[in-house]
Amino acid sequence: MHDLYNFVRGPLAWTAFFIFIAGSLYRIIKMFVMIKKKESFVFTFWSWKYSLRSIMHWLIPFGTVNMRMHPFMTIVTFIFHICLIIVPFFLFSHNVLWDESWNISCWSIPDPVADIMTIIVVLCIIFFLVRRLKEPEVRFLSTASDYFLLAIVALPFLTGFIAYHQWSSYQFWLILHILTGEIMLMAIPFTRLSHMLFAPFTRGYAGSEFGGVCHSRDW
């Protein structure tokens, strides 16, 4: 067990970070290179003003007509993404790791708060799952990979929660936690989780076309 711990905590962690960062860079650089090569008009019509205008509207809760049409989904989506990003970065025990490995120390959220946020993430994922199964228009679009991705995102939070509370073998759950976290990280550039990388560009381009060419809103 100890060897396994060392492996996931050491080489695999490095690999995961490497794959996440290099993979993300690869996808973004490839996007730029290919767009330049085959669809350079995207640069021609790109407008920072209108990109940012559109992105801002879509970053503000209830800033768009569609968000106002689906208030519950909007609240869940925002809370989910906020917790999803804050917990892994600002959890005290992660901060210790950042500090040990890279000498970065930053502000951390109190553990009880992180605990609640973790539960929120899991609840949100359950909501997404139920929505996927229950709403015909979402179910129709869903493929096995969509369910799989929900699991990939849920697992690090679930296992982290169990490990933190030390209900059973701490080390087992910790290893599982680290492992699933690493899987999630590595999955980002190569699955639909890549919407994290591309959203600013797709939204920005829509905003540029709507604002710059069509003189209209896209929210």
Binding site: E39, V65, P136, V138, R139, G207, V213, C214, S216, D218
Partner: protein, 441 residues
């Protein structure tokens, strides 16, 4: 699934699609798909496909989905799944039957109105993806008969309706004579080099709606505009080739239109109340020809009327009394930002203007645009059933008159009014201007 209205509109046979499909073999399909995906699309399409999180949030944007009992296969992402999704999943190895159904989905179940881009959190352009499908179908020769005939007319005559050169000039002279009865000094100046404005129309105007040319002539003459119309091909600004995916023909059409304006040395092109033509001239055709923006400024009728009213070049005798509501055509409102100007115009002309809801960029589509009405009679019933939401929207206004500053919308809404037995007249804005303006004695 029970409750869905789909059964009324399925299994439609279109001669063009059937005959085109019968000639296909699997190898050819694979080759064409590969060539379109490899040489004509790029990372943008891949990123759209990869970024779509299958959340279904675009569904409520689409009038097809809303009208068909929320049947998920009509949602924007649902249509992508049934077309490009399959093509990607099977790596282009799809059957002729699949291509036939993809052609029907992309050309009659989507109006490429881009409303869904305003509802997808990522701004994924489903309309673009449907146009890629149409392009593939076009290259495989599987396009609905009626719209293909229109594209043929474009390629032979440079206009949409097989109007011959002498017929065109005759029609203009006929309308000039008619209008002279009302306004003896009126002219429709042909081929006037150096005029300020070239006025261009779509071919259905000379073919079926010559009174619109008559009205335009009255408006131009009253306002004292220095204008001209071309006597040569290039007078038609319409473009169904853009919608079939025949971009080569689209390029030829737009070039002839811009070339005609350049030959006449006009300062700008003013176009009649048409939406798709505006999109073609203002946004799509110019890009195909390598122009970021149109080489000659393009003024849509709505904007032209706004300028005339604002400058007092047209005066209103007495405002229109009946209650009116306004349909916002996607291509000039969402695509041209003319929402405020059109409201200025309507309020200047009419006493009693009732907004429909939703409106402006968020207005529901007419379900005629994007080439859908041009796919012809086989699909008419489907076009009616799949826009019930529009009928409900119109009825809710209680207005007596519906204004539609777009030809496609006009025809489509006229059908909707008939099909759903709505008690409403439909008019172009120029009909109202003609009725309420002060005309010189």
């Amino acid at each position: 699934m029970p409750g869905f209205a789909a059964n009324k509109v399925e299994n439609i046979l279109d001669e063009g699609i059937e005959k085109g499909g019968a000639k296909l073999d699997n190898k050819q399909i694979e080759d064409v798909i590969k060539s379109v995906l490899d040489t004509e699309t790029g990372e943008r399409l891949k990123i759209y496909v990869d970024t779509c999180v299958h959340c279904g949030l675009c569904s409520d944007a689409c009038h097809h989905f809303l009208s068909m009992g929320r049947d998920p296969k009509y949602s924007p992402a649902g249509k992508v799944k049934r077309t490009l999704g399959e093509i990607f999943r099977k790596k282009g190895k799809v059957s002729p039957e699949f291509i036939k159904s993809a052609s029907i989905i992309a050309s009659t179940e989507c109006n490429v109105c881009r409303r869904c881009s305003m509802y997808c959190p990522f701004g994924i352009d489903v309309a673009y993806m449907m146009k890629v499908v149409r392009r593939i179908c076009h290259k495989l020769g599987v396009t609905a008969l009626y719209i293909q005939d229109t594209a043929h007319s474009h390629s032979v005559t440079m206009n949409q309706m097989w109007v011959k050169e002498d017929e065109w000039v005759d029609t203009l002279q006929w309308q000039e004579e008619e209008a002279q009865a009302e306004f003896p000094k009126l002219r429709i100046p042909l081929e006037k080099e150096g005029a300020e404005i070239m006025y261009s129309v779509i071919a259905p105007e000379p073919k079926f709606q010559a009174q619109l040319i008559y009205q335009a002539a009255i408006i131009m003459n009253t306002a004292g505009i220095d204008w001209t119309m071309p006597a040569t091909p290039g007078w038609d600004n319409s473009d169904m080739a853009m919608y079939t995916g025949d971009f080569e023909i689209m390029g030829r059409l737009k070039r002839s239109h811009f070339d005609t304006a350049a030959r006449l040395k006009v300062k700008k092109i003013v176009m009649g109340e048409c939406g798709h033509a505006f999109r073609s001239v203002y946004d799509v055709g110019n890009r195909w020809l390598g122009w970021k923006r149109p080489p000659v400024p393009i003024i849509h009728a709505l904007e032209f009327y706004y300028d005339l009213l604002k400058a007092g070049k047209i005066k209103i005798r007495e405002k229109y009394k009946k209650s009116v509501t306004l349909h916002d055509p996607c291509n000039v409102i969402r695509g041209g930002g003319l929402a405020d100007k059109s409201r200025y115009v309507v309020n200047a002309l009419c006493d009693n203007f009732i907004e429909m809801h939703p409106n402006r960029e968020h207005n529901y589509c007419c379900n005629a645009g994007g080439g859908v009405i041009n796919c012809g009679p086989p699909f008419k019933n489907k076009r009616m059933v799949s826009n019930k939401v529009k009928a409900d929207q119109l009825i809710a206004t209680g207005a007596e008159v519906l204004l539609s500053p777009c030809h496609n919308c006009y025809s489509g809404l006229e059908d909707i009014i008939g099909h759903y037995k709505i008690n409403m007249e439909i008019k172009f804005i120029s009909d109202i201007i003609y009725e309420v303006m002060e005309k010189p004695a």
